[in-house]
Symmetry: C2
Subunit: 368 residues, 2 copies
Amino acid sequence: MASVDLSVLRRVAPEWLEVVQRRARILQRIRMTQPIGRRLLAADLGMTERVLRAEVDLLRRQGLVQAHATGMWLSDEGQALLEELDQALALMEGREQLGRALSASLGIPEVVVVAGDSDADGWAKDSLGYYAAVRLRNLLRDDDVLAVTGGTTLAAVAQMMPGQGGPRPVRVVPARGGLGENMTLQANTIASAIAAKLGGQSIMLHVPDRLSEDTLERLMAEPEIRERLDEVRQATVVVHGIGDAMKMARRRQLSETEVALLCERGAVSEAFGYYFDREGRPVYAMTTVGLRLDDIAGARVVMAVAGGASKSLAIRSAARAYRIDVLVTDEGAAKGLVAAATAGTAPAAAGQAADTGHRNHQGRENRI
Amino acid sequence: MASVDLSVLRRVAPEWLEVVQRRARILQRIRMTQPIGRRLLAADLGMTERVLRAEVDLLRRQGLVQAHATGMWLSDEGQALLEELDQALALMEGREQLGRALSASLGIPEVVVVAGDSDADGWAKDSLGYYAAVRLRNLLRDDDVLAVTGGTTLAAVAQMMPGQGGPRPVRVVPARGGLGENMTLQANTIASAIAAKLGGQSIMLHVPDRLSEDTLERLMAEPEIRERLDEVRQATVVVHGIGDAMKMARRRQLSETEVALLCERGAVSEAFGYYFDREGRPVYAMTTVGLRLDDIAGARVVMAVAGGASKSLAIRSAARAYRIDVLVTDEGAAKGLVAAATAGTAPAAAGQAADTGHRNHQGRENRI
DNA sequence: ACCACAGGGACATAATATGTCCCAGGAGGG
DNA sequence: CCCTCCTGGGACATATTATGTCCCTGTGGT
């Protein structure tokens, strides 16, 4: 079938793009949560049951969705078509181009921009997690040691990781010890969940978040801890979230003194327990066990996952701080980043882009 | 803007193609008859006024159509877009491919297939005429002598010929003398109309259709006739319709003896007063003045215009009978031709295609 | 000056989309 | 084994939109 310049067709029937987008989101949601029923799906997507039914009926007539007593599934054909549709929409919505621009301005070889804004759209974080999970799954090799951090974003990656598609017998390790109170956001929990989905094994780091220097030394002396820590620090693939410095400080319940220090030093981002200022200089590090900044230099692939307009600054800071090979982000963050690059900070951003420009030409690849 | 595989998008939103087609037809009709009002346009297109208004309102918001007290016009942008849209739809509706197939099987370098079926859709004949007229206008040179036949199809070409777009100072001559009673279908009338639209001059052949041998000789001796006839027979561009043999025989009010003869000899097509059987062999010729079959060998371009499912056989017959450089036809006729080629007559048609295959590779060009 | 046709407004009515239930059935957990 | 929860499909009153059919005023061409 022929490919035709879409701008012409869009001009004649502009309302059609929205229809395609809506149906694509339905298909994506089914793919992520199948099997799923009409009512739950409607709630997920923020539609009423009846409206969703009309759409699903059509998609079923097209043979893209199959209904069963247990819920709806994507047909094989629907699966294949949705993958092409993902690419088509990325192009039509300009996310493809957005990714290319970010790749250049941040010096990150591969930047994937998924639809939505994790801050605003409830479904966007799932989407972010899904595409990060799929990308991760594809790049893993059997002998990899995968280190993952905690946080809501990584939790989404774990949750959305497809359980099917051939086991990946990797070892999954938590990049950090315990953090905060929420069980589902722990690196340990996430490592375990991802290992289960991938068909690999995971280990745990039974270490509290904050330690005195003294206790730290003692723990490190424990063989059980020592062994695990060695494995963590030899991770070949690192997948991590990027946090807003101040939000993370609060979540970690840092003391007022520490918060003030971070403020003073202009910390904007947090990753692996390190805090960075807007130029990517490390300004503070937690005294805690786990993956260290210089460990990731030895990793085969470093993947960052972060979305939402509020993360723009933090992402840029992290991109300047250490090597990121793959960034999975969303439209909200991406637009903020591009706006910042072309606005006031233009000179600095331009310089950054120029410095890393030669690197971007090899192996750059934008998907989704 | 990117071009994307349309089959994917069509699968997800199949109703959209119809919308695009409907709006394209509206734009085409406006282009053909501008300036035109809402009511007349609705009647032309077989829509109610209100429905058309909704569509036109949208097209106007898109800046493709401009409203004026005298009626609606295509904007410059609409004009440009419609030309692209024509091509896109030809591709999407498979007419492009249809044209290519016919080009091969009929051995005609350029085959244009326009939408519709002139037998069934009232607007299709106008469309056929319009695209034939535009193609004709584009291929004419200033020193050309253009010979045209009569008939409803050529009348449509004359009527739809755009009056704007730079004068073509050609000489337009009728290929034949008078025929039948209907003034508007006379070659003379059509030649005059086309000349007016092109900004050229025309001459007339004041000769009745049917003559005795005796009278014919006397007429030919008249200098006035002689001169005109010489010019006609030196035409550099010939545009003609192709008729169904039996229908033409009836319209010409041939005697029963003649009709029986045509039947017996298997006449299926008529052109320039010649009748051909299904293999393209001439089986009968009117004793009349005008362009002769061997004259068209000297023409620079021979263009045939014929549409409607009922014309399939006649077109194939004519294509075998003499050289045609450009065929403008419609979906109705084209589908009939392809069906005939792939069905019972397959061996013959296949042989035909093979014989002329080498010729089709040079200069073949399919438009609209 | 007239006339035919222009676009825009108005509105009752038809058609469709939508929200909200109910129901019988099946899968999975206890 | 039963119980429960969720499934898809049906039904229907209601909201929303599309449609057919007028009327009105203006304007360009004859």
